[in-house]
Symmetry: C2
Subunit: 382 residues, 2 copies
């Protein structure tokens, strides 16, 4: 395999972007990534997107969005793994460059969620239609069951769940691209409206619009485009049973662990080498389960890690320095790419007030459904 | 790049499969492909699918379908480029094996179209929503405009359009997996109900259910799995303007030509080397335009080639020996993989009554929208 680098990155602000369409947002992110490198050609485009069909009645966004940035002709394909679509797009782009078939490949993600569709209904299509969605369960309900199981097994408290959101808002307040740039208190979280017990509104990531894009090329060409390339050290992916009821332990995200193990093996690294991580906190319980499955914290201690500062900026392994899905926002198809961009910022030393000092190795983990898909990338300063 | 082979293939019959769900069909095709090789492990799964969200309210089919064949854990991702989704899935699988990251990758396609959704509405999402679908145009309408332009420029006749369908039904009558295994006459085609002038019902591919799967591995391991591997000589893809109105000449499918040129360049071959081809005849005019853009027939002579036997079994370059989308059926996400399977059958010498004598090199071309995406693979006897 050829070694692969990320040489450019661009994203929109995440939020309720009423003035921007799907194509506007993609163009803003993609052109920003290209502009950073001074490059104007592409060999291929992969676009992570969960459900433009459901949200804005548009499938086949590959050629549509290639055309939007003046790149009609360039191969452009959509990749979908629900909320892990962005991570999956990065992975497919990585393989195309690694194979030697292409040099300049854009990995992007985009989602337009606020244009009128029933968001809960559309998102529920990421669960098992026959055994879950059809019977009325929604994602807050699924993650509430995961939370209940985690509390039961590990003694995790509602206050620890709240601390994840509090921490991520502290981080997100420092991120100019975040949807919610304000701190919140544990009291506010625990006093917010109950969505699906024990999860409350401020445990949940918001409905967001946004796009993000990174430009990949062979590592040996990276210096043509940037002084600060980031190397993709590894890509790991795994799936698990789609329906929560089919998993042995709902509080344990097996696909996350397996995807991480594959990435660690590929990179020849372990959790102890990770200096900064973006993980998939679609609900606060998800960050707890993911940090455990990634091996970043001890099993059952994810809640405590958020409370005692272990995963905060300044702690042993800062998690979700971007603000995470909770504070930065979660335009589902774009999230996996935005996570990679945050890690690139950290490794390039351009994360500003969110900078983890001298970060050399970072990890991003993107998840689909209630944990049925997980994609992990490990990035390193090149 | 590592050289890559196809070592197993499986598909369902195409048709109105009322007794089979999306997952049933995928499992039937995938397990047949695996059984052919005696292999029970996979490193990854790519699934071409246009719109399970629209058709059966199910996104995130990667983990769902991996689980259905007992492969939870294996990375499984959906790839979407409208009706070119199958071809795009084959291409991404090809890159993963070519990169050296994985050895055993399943490229599959599946679509369940007959379960109650408004098929025309769902398919229209493959056109430009803002400028085309929203204003009421559907795919028969778009291809009718392409047909009108082709008639105007090249003198193509309604009778020539009909001959494409007639030829493909002659072929399809020989294919046990085809949806319509019966011959039709030009008079029947020209007497069938008008859908969008000049296109009539029997110029149009049907609404179909079905699935198809091929197993890829490095060429140097192919003999572990089969005596008759098929080598992927090249993969080419291109896009064009999404909206028909944005193309200089609606009768010329630029993405098809560009994707073919890229594949020919990669393989070091030209149209004259192709002994058998599957091309995307979603409407009879599409086969005419595609055979021209692929260079298999002279520009403007696609209609004549269907009439005079040039593209029939026994002719210079038999096109759509499977029956094509018209007679074999067109479960949109599965089509690109089924095309590759037909070419594999031809190169392995297992095409039965449809066999092109001593076929060594074949091509398959899969298209999305009104020609905004095109994927070409050239396969060779290994």
């Amino acid at each position: 395999m050829r070694e692969v680098a990320i040489v450019g990155a661009g994203m929109t602000r995440f939020g309720e972007l009423w003035q921007s369409s799907l194509r506007d947002m993609f163009a803003e992110a993609a052109l920003a990534a290209l502009e950073q490198t001074g490059e104007a050609r592409l060999d291929a485009i992969y676009i992570g997107n969960m459900a433009a069909g459901g949200f804005v009645k548009q499938e086949h966004i590959g050629p549509l969005l290639a055309g939007e940035i003046g790149m009609s002709g360039v191969p452009a394909v959509r990749v979908e793994s629900a909320c892990a679509s962005g991570g999956a797009a990065l992975r497919t782009a990585f393989f195309e460059v690694a194979s030697g078939a292409s040099d300049l490949v854009l990995a992007a993600g985009v989602e337009k969620m606020t244009d009128g569709a029933d968001v809960t209904d559309v998102l529920a299509m990421a669960a098992d239609q026959e055994t879950e969605a059809y019977n009325g369960i929604t994602f807050p309900g699924l993650y509430a069951m995961i939370a209940r199981a985690h509390m039961e097994r590990h003694g995790t408290t509602e206050e620890e769940l709240a601390q994840v959101a509090v921490k991520n808002h502290v981080h997100g307040a420092l991120n100019p691209n975040a949807q919610f740039r304000r701190k919140i208190t544990a009291e506010q979280v625990m006093g917010s409206a109950l969505v699906a017990a024990p999860l409350r509104m401020l445990h949940c990531s918001p409905v967001s619009d946004g796009a993000a894009a990174v430009l990949l090329c062979p590592l040996d060409r990276a210096k043509e485009f940037t002084d600060r390339p980031v190397k993709i050290l590894a890509s790991g992916m795994a799936t698990a049973a789609m329906a929560l009821a089919d998993r042995e332990d709902p509080a344990f995200l097996g696909a996350v662990q397996q995807s991480a193990q594959r990435a660690y093996d590929m990179a020849g690294l372990g959790p102890g080498d990770i200096q900064v991580a973006e993980v998939h906190d679609c609900f606060s319980i998800a960050e707890i389960c993911c940090t455990e499955a990634l091996g970043l914290v001890e099993n059952g201690r994810g809640g405590e890690a958020a409370r005692n500062g272990y995963t905060s900026l300044g702690g042993r392994v800062p998690v979700n320095t971007s603000g995470g899905l909770k504070s930065k926002g979660h335009p589902v198809g774009a999230t996996g790419i935005a996570q990679a961009i945050e890690i690139c910022e950290q490794l390039r030393g351009t994360a500003g007030e969110r900078q983890v000092p001298d970060a050399k190795i970072g990890l991003c983990q993107n998840m689909g459904g209630s944990g049925a898909s997980s994609v992990v990338h490990i990035l390193g300063r090149a």
